[in-house]
Amino acid sequence: MEIDPLIFRLSIFILSIFVGYYVVWSVTPSLHTPLMSVTNAISSVIIVGAIIAGLSGDSQSVFNTSSIFGFMAIALAAINIFGGFLVTQRMLAMYKKKKKDK
């Protein structure tokens, strides 16, 4: 009997939760704010679904109800991707070590 592909996706999902668990515990507490902003940015990879949704119209009519929701989702996710990564970059650039020389 063949295994349902859903089981494979479920396996990836469960294993990723464990990976996430161990990786996040090793994040230093002083970087918890950048952690939140970068998780925000990467969860916006939902844009891949939004792009498929946006392109669901046909060549005659690019816009139908379904694709309009897709386009709106693209814009929202794009705000998050650019905003999230850039603000994380901006924050991380501020973390500096003590200057050794006086």
């Binding site: 859903l6 918890h32 969860s43």
Partner: protein
């Protein structure tokens, strides 16, 4: 057009890059590289999506257009936002992820053919379950984050909003969501889908309004977690590995942060979620304590104490963020260092309005991160320090948490500030902190209260040093 197998492999690569992005955050040195991995992962995921659709249509132009429009807005916000507003920004971003998940779910529900999920009214059962869970969690994330944003921004009062029958009502709504998902899957009715979305928006709103301002670190982390689970739900629907991996990462990340924040307050997760902390405070005990003598001083006294100290520990809190005092504080510390005084910073896990809030503000003010310590690292040093400078923190320094089992904050880990030879406490008045309880530290022999705005007081001290 690339094959489905090849694109699946690329999605896996991008998922791995996201793991590396989080891994980089284990130290500030590797964090910047980590962020670049994250960006690379995102570029791969988006490019592969375009390639897998293959045939060019006019729709592509609009996709690019919307990415550019959204991206410019995002970039603009990212450069303009002041660091003190980071909690609001993160809450706002969470709401967008939630809403995007809802929109993708709606789109997939209306046009399942485009997603290869069956036809309208006859969507594959598994996909429909995943889709409705993704949509419901996304909707909760959206409305919850909007409330959190409004509370943090001060548009909505930060105090808990409670009413009679709140908990039973929430319980009924949560049960009805499960029932609705069940009915939706058995009937495929689009009306039920809209009702499900509406009810989910409603519960997100109701869940967050009873939670007070200082519990926001837990709320933001929790919503962070939800946004991940919503993404994972959609990932299952779209059979997309990158989305499933990311959703799981973000979901567990938010859950861990919520746990750390709850532990920092010695409260259970449910206690925070049920809300209304400190509302049942005993007023009689408070009024009796107000009779106690308090020593208050001015900037001159504070400067004198610090000048004669050999080590100073600074305890920042939310008040520092409100007063935007971090730059003034660093200038004061620079002057202290010139006088060969050892200065370090002590950060309580729940100081501020989100995890790591204080660290970012200090980093913004050019405070080197190796002078900033977590509670466990520095708590033993208070006994050997000459001066503790408490700026904008309150409940996290209250010795009552260690001495009085009756106190609502009993058992909460606190900074042992009172063990210092002298304590300088910058605060506008003697009013209690968020927990609604009096801080015994105000009345200690070795405490000098500095009644003033945090920024102004810090500047005045610097002048007097």
């Amino acid at each position: 057009m690339i094959s489905a197998n090849l694109s699946a492999i690329f999605y896996l690569v991008s998922g791995v890059l996201f793991i590396l992005a989080l891994r980089g955050l284990s130290s500030p040195e590797t964090s910047r590289q980590g962020n670049l991995f994250g960006i690379l992962g995102m570029i791969i995921a988006i490019t592969v999506t375009f390639l897998s659709i293959g045939t060019f249509s006019i729709g592509f132009v609009f996709v690019i257009l919307f990415i550019v429009v959204g991206g410019s807005i995002g970039a603009f916000i990212a450069y303009k936002i002041p660091m003190t507003a980071m909690p609001e920004l993160v809450a706002g971003f969470h709401s967008l992820v939630g809403l995007a998940a809802v929109f993708v779910a709606i789109s997939a529900f209306l046009n399942p053919i485009a997603f290869n999920l069956g036809s309208p009214g006859n969507i594959k059962l598994g996909s429909l379950i995943e889709m409705s869970i993704g949509a419901a969690v996304g909707a909760i994330t959206f409305s919850g984050s909007v409330i959190a944003f409004l509370k943090l921004q001060g548009i909505m009062s930060g105090s808990p909003i409670t009413f009679k029958g709140q908990h039973p009502l929430n319980a009924i709504i949560l049960i009805s969501i499960i029932v609705l998902i069940y009915l939706l899957c058995s009937t495929q009715s689009s009306n039920l889908f809209w009702i499900l979305l509406f009810v989910s928006f409603l519960i997100g709103f109701l869940l967050i309004i009873p939670i007070g301002g200082a519990d926001m670190p837990v709320v933001i982390s929790m919503l962070n977690s939800y946004s991940g689970w919503a993404a994972a739900g959609i990932g299952f629907t779209l059979e997309n590995t990158a989305l499933i991996i990311t959703g799981a990462l973000v979901g567990s990340s938010g859950a861990i942060l919520s746990y750390i924040m709850c532990k920092g307050m010695n409260r259970s997760f449910f206690n925070v979620i049920l809300g209304g902390f400190g509302a049942s405070d005993d007023t009689s005990s408070k009024s009796s304590k107000e009779q106690k003598p308090v020593k208050s001083g001015n900037a001159d006294d504070a400067a004198f104490l610090m000048k004669n100290a050999s080590s100073v520990i600074i305890v920042p809190g939310y008040g520092m963020a409100v007063a935007q005092a971090q730059h003034a504080l660093r200038e004061m510390v620079d002057t202290l260092k010139k006088n060969d005084i050892k200065v370090s910073y002590a950060i309580h896990p729940v100081a501020g309005r989100m995890p790591g809030h204080m660290n970012v503000l200090l980093a913004e003010a050019n405070v080197p991160y190796d002078e900033v310590f977590e509670l466990e690292e520095i708590n033993n040093d208070f006994a050997n320090a000459d001066v503790a400078f408490v700026i904008g923190a309150n409940d996290v320094t209250n010795p009552v948490a260690k001495t009085d089992p009756q106190s609502p904050i009993y058992g909460m880990p606190v900074l042992d500030v009172e063990k210092c030879k002298s304590v300088l406490f910058v605060k506008r008045s003697l009013s209690p902190g968020y927990a609604g309880i009096d801080n015994d530290l105000f009345y200690k022999e070795n405490t000098l209260m500095l009644f003033a705005d945090a920024k102004k007081m810090t500047e005045d001290i610097t002048k007097n040093l």
